[in-house]
Each structure stands twice: as structure tokens, then as C-alpha cells.
Amino acid sequence: MSVRTVVRAKAPGAPTRWLMRNHIWVFLALTFAVFSLSSPYFLTMNNLGNVLTQAAFIGILAIGMTLVMINGEIDLSVGAVLALASALAIGLQDHIGVWPAVMVGFLSGAALGFLNGTLVALSGMHSFIVTLGGLIGIRGLVFIYTGEDALMVTDFSYTEYPEIYLGPVSLTAMIFFALALLFQWVLTSTRHGRETYAVGDNLQAAHDAGINIKRHKIINFTLCGALAAIAGILLSMRLGTAEPNAGKVWELWTIIAVVLGGTRLQGGYGSLWMTIGGVLTLAVLRNGLRLLNTPNYVELMVMGAVLILALAIDKLLSRHEVGR
């Protein structure tokens, strides 16, 4: 919540400007309407519940990515961290029990996030480089640990843990929304959250104001890693297997979802509301295109086009802003 946002909300013509800044929701409503009209299967409780569950995995990754991006950084390693957590949670449970294995998976994500953050903070390297290295190296760890084969659960009761539903909404989806709400609160109502915006908006000014930049970066990367691990564990519960290639190129989908929502890569601007919008739009788009039986390539091409469109809109809108 930068001061600028508050000022803008009070400016004349606020509803129009709100709409312009929250274009993702307009876009989501449009896609929603189009698919409701074009496919009889889209607007059913069952399908919408599925969309939410499918959205949750990229969604949980996107929460962490949003924190890191508002802070002015990027994390390319989330897909690999997800794969490692999922492999550890399944691979270790025959040896140390289910919940300890899940705990190890979770901690592996938090630890790798902490490592990423510490490397970025201590070295002053671009996080793109640090996490690009991480993406390659951690994926290597996954392949070494799994021996290049998919790991399978031996006790299938593991796959029943997330099978709790509130109406059509799965536990996985609920966890996504709960985490998004929690971290939206963190962003707007805690010192760490506000200072995350400050650091992303203007690093030097934040430093001069006495904000501990390194601490915030390390915290956000650790959170991002931990959230990726949660997504990995939930994925392992849903599938009952851990593939070494799980989550490959998901970091790209995650970045697409976050940017689509309106959070800026440059840092200092964004929210988890926007990210929820971006994640849901992406999920609705993928689901709707599949229901319409469009070939796989249409999906990939539409995603690319939509992303560039979102970027162009964002550029057009931010041109009207002062000081950018």
C-alpha cells in the first residue's frame, strides 16, 4: 500500500480508475461469460470446483512469487522446489512416517528459499541469476534423489487427505484462498508487508529510511520457497506419485499469472487480490479452452497473446500515472 495508491483512490473519477487498475477482474468476467455461453459443461458446480483445484497449485506458487516480485525480485526456482518437496514427501514416508516426511518436504522448500534469499541479499546478485542457477541445480537434486523415476506412495490413504470438500470447493483450493488472504493481510497490515512495498518501490529510499532491505528479501524468498513446498506436498497428495519432471516450466506459468494480475515486475506495486484474479483467469482460460476441445497449441498461443495484451494494457494505463 504505497501512498500513491491511496491518493489515486481518492482522485476524481475513482470508479473508472478502479476498473482500469483492476482490469484483471473485468477480463476474468469476460472469459467467464464467453465460456459459459460457448460450453454447456463450463458453468457447472463440478467443473468450477475443478477449476479452483487446478488453479490452487499455480496459485500457491503465485502467492510466494507475488511477495518476491513486490519486493522487486523474481524467483525462477519455484517449480524445482515444488518437485523436490513432492519427491521428499513421498520418498521418505516409508522410512520416517508420513507426517515427518511431509515436514521434511516443507522444510526443504523453506531452506532452499532461505538459501536463495541469503545469496541474493549477501552477494547483491540479480535474483534472476541466483534463482536461474537454483532452477537448474535443484532440478538436478530432484533427479538424483528420485533416480530419474517417478516415486509412488505405498499407502494410498495419503492421497485421501486432501479429499475434503466444502460444497464443490476442495481442501486444496481452500488452502490456496486461506494462504492468499493470510499473506494479503501480511502485506497490508504488518511492518514486513509495508516495508516489502517500500523496498520494491525504491531500494535506495528504503535503505535511507533505515529499512533492513536484506532481512525483507530473505524473509520473502524463504516464504516463497516454503509456499512452493506446500504446493508440492499438496500435488503429491493429489497424484500419489512424485515425478522428477513435476512442476517443470511452472515458474513461467506462475510469473504469467502474477503479471496478468497486474503486479509489476519492477516491484513496489501489486497485491494478492490481483494475483488471485490472474491465477483464476489463467485457470478459467485453460479449462474453458479444453472444454471446447481446442487443440493443445491454441492454449499455448492464446496464453502468449493474452500475456502480451495484459502487458500492453498495463503500459497504457501506467502512462497516465504520475512519476513513473
Binding site: 549477501l122 546478485m125 533427479f143
Partner: protein, 317 residues
């Protein structure tokens, strides 16, 4: 005297570390520094190497190109498929043209429109992968007369004992280095990445410099696709997946700054070649295949950190 050694270490630490690694592996694996193995490694890195030469231009302007992996797939599919329908010569020309065209689209969006390079090329990565599936209909393509076509020369033949891909890599690097260091355009590439605003005020058309850098990146990817198509004599729908990461890793390892304004083609060649030798060396030493990814991680972090620390004068930020 100690400061001299310190300065030397900082400036050429990467090379020295690499030298120690080469020596270490050579002592424990006899085959490592044999001419055959060296040529093998060079042949393996030639595809990523050619691409990295073009990407170096983009990175020096302060931009990124993540689309090259999908672009490599698409162009390889095109060259193989067109080879079957219009023959090798036209197929090569079409592929080069397509590479230039895709680079121009990237360049127009990033340079002329001014959109964020990371997101645009990410979008292109997705879009081009879609185009691959659309073009190929999801099936793999193969060169029909693989045994008789002269197209084999680019990936499979040798000239004076040196594999042709290696020669193409070398020639691309020489031309790239010449353009970057000895032409007005090359200086403008550095200026654009070093300080875009100042460059604009000095009369450099920075949007067009960025545009042409992406065109170069598209062109080198097309050359790489020709080598790839010729070597494999076919193309799968995912043949170039992940190449963008290897190429970027090599460029970064060479010391070209992601912030733009600094870098060189020869350092990129060094970075890519080093990655190749490291991977080859680890395999010769008997490490499992994926250990090389772990080592790549460590090497990237160490190399960039040391480089940054040397420029800053202290190791911690």
C-alpha cells in the same frame, strides 16, 4: 605484489578456476584432454554456442531473450519439414528468414513498443511452442533422404578434421565479435545497455538498436536450428526445450552483465565452452549425469559473485 596477485585473481579468477578444473580432470581421466574428446565437447556446445553469440547482443542492451528455446524447436521443425518439401537450399533460406522474422517480432514488442523483455519473450516461448504443435500437428518430423542429402554437412561432417558445427560456431563468434567491437552498431549496443537515456539524448535510436539485437538473436537461433536439424535429421516437438536456460547460463558465466552495458562475445564463447567441459569432465570422472546440474548451479553463483565482488571491491553487498 600481493595486490597484483589479488587483482589478477579477480580479473581472471574464472579462467584460473577453470584451468585448475581442467588440470584436475585431465590428471584423473586420461581421455579428457585428448583431441578427440576436445572436439567432441566443442561439437556438443556448438548449438548453444551459436545461439549464445546472438543472445549476448540482447543481454548487452540490458534485455533478455527467453524465447530462443521454443524458437529453436520451431525452426528445427521448419528446416526439417521444408527440407522434405522444397529441398535443402530453400529450406535453409526459409529457416533463416523465419528466425529473422520472429526476432523482429520480439524486437518490435520490446524495442519499439517498449514492453518488458522478460514477459514478452516468456509469452513468445509459450506462443512459439504452440506454433510448433500447430505446424507439426503434434508428430515428429524426419528428413526423408537422410543418407544422401548434402544437408548433412552442417551437423555431421568434418572439414580438415574439425567438425563443421564447430567451424560454424567459430565463424559466428568471429563475425559477432567483429560487429560488437568494430562497428558503429556494436558501440550503440553497449551504449544502449550502459545508459539508455543518455544514449537517446546523444542521438542513438535505442529502440532500433534493441530491435536489431533481437533480430540477431533470431538469426543465430536459426543457424543453430540448421545445425540441429542436420545433426538429428529430424525434429521432435520439444527438441529445444530448456535451451534458453543453458544459453543464458553460459552468457552469464562468461561475465556479460544482465543489467546491460558490459560483456563480450569471446567471454560468452568461454562461458559456454566451460559449461561443456565441466559437464563432460564430470561424466568422465564417473559422476551421475545430473550432478553436472548441481555443479552448474554452484559455478554460476560463484562466477557471478566473484565477478561482482571484484567490481565492487568487496565480496558482500
Amino acid at each position: 605484489m600481493t595486490t597484483d596477485i589479488g587483482a589478477l585473481l579477480r580479473r581472471h579468477g574464472l579462467l584460473l578456476g577453470f584451468g585448475v578444473f581442467l588440470l584436475g580432470v585431465a590428471l584423473s581421466a586420461d581421455a579428457f584432454l585428448s583431441p578427440g574428446n576436445i572436439l567432441d565437447v566443442l561439437r556438443q556446445v556448438s548449438i548453444t554456442g551459436v545461439m549464445a553469440v546472438g543472445v549476448t547482443f540482447v543481454v548487452i542492451t540490458g534485455r533478455l531473450d527467453l524465447s530462443i528455446g521454443s524458437m529453436l524447436t520451431l525452426l528445427t521443425v521448419i528446416v526439417v519439414d521444408q527440407h522434405n518439401s522444397v529441398g535443402p537450399l530453400l529450406a535453409i533460406l526459409i529457416t533463416l528468414g523465419a528466425g529473422v522474422l520472429i526476432g523482429a517480432v520480439n524486437g518490435a514488442l520490446v524495442g519499439l513498443v517498449g514492453l518488458n523483455a522478460l514477459i514478452v519473450t516468456l509469452a513468445m516461448l509459450s506462443f512459439l511452442q504452440g506454433l510448433v504443435l500447430f505446424y507439426s500437428g503434434g508428430s515428429n518430423v524426419n528428413v526423408e533422404n537422410a543418407q544422401t542429402t548434402w544437408f548433412a554437412v552442417f551437423g555431421r561432417k568434418s572439414l580438415l578434421g574439425i567438425p563443421v558445427p564447430v567451424l560454424i560456431f567459430l565463424v559466428t563468434a568471429i563475425i559477432g565479435a567483429f560487429v560488437l567491437n568494430r562497428t558503429v552498431f556494436g558501440r550503440q549496443v553497449f551504449a544502449t545497455g550502459g545508459n539508455g537515456t543518455a544514449s537517446r539524448f546523444s542521438g542513438i535510436a535505442t529502440p532500433w538498436v534493441v530491435f536489431w539485437s533481437y533480430v540477431i538473436s533470431g538469426l543465430t537461433t536459426a543457424i543453430a536450428a540448421i545445425i540441429m536439424g542436420s545433426r538429428v535429421m529430424g525434429a521432435q516437438n520439444t527438441i529445444g526445450q530448456g535451451y534458453e536456460l543453458t544459453v543464458l547460463a553460459g552468457v552469464i558465466l562468461g561475465g556479460t552483465s544482465l543489467l546491460g552495458g558490459a560483456g563480450s562475445v569471446w567471454r560468452t564463447v568461454l562461458g559456454i565452452t566451460m559449461l561443456g567441459f565441466i559437464q563432460n569432465g564430470l561424466l568422465l570422472l564417473g559422476f551421475p549425469y545430473y550432478v553436472q546440474w548441481l555443479v552448474t548451479w554452484a559455478v554460476i553463483i560463484a562466477a557471478v559473485w566473484i565477478d561482482l565482488g571484484a567490481k565492487r571491491g568487496r565480496i558482500l553487498a
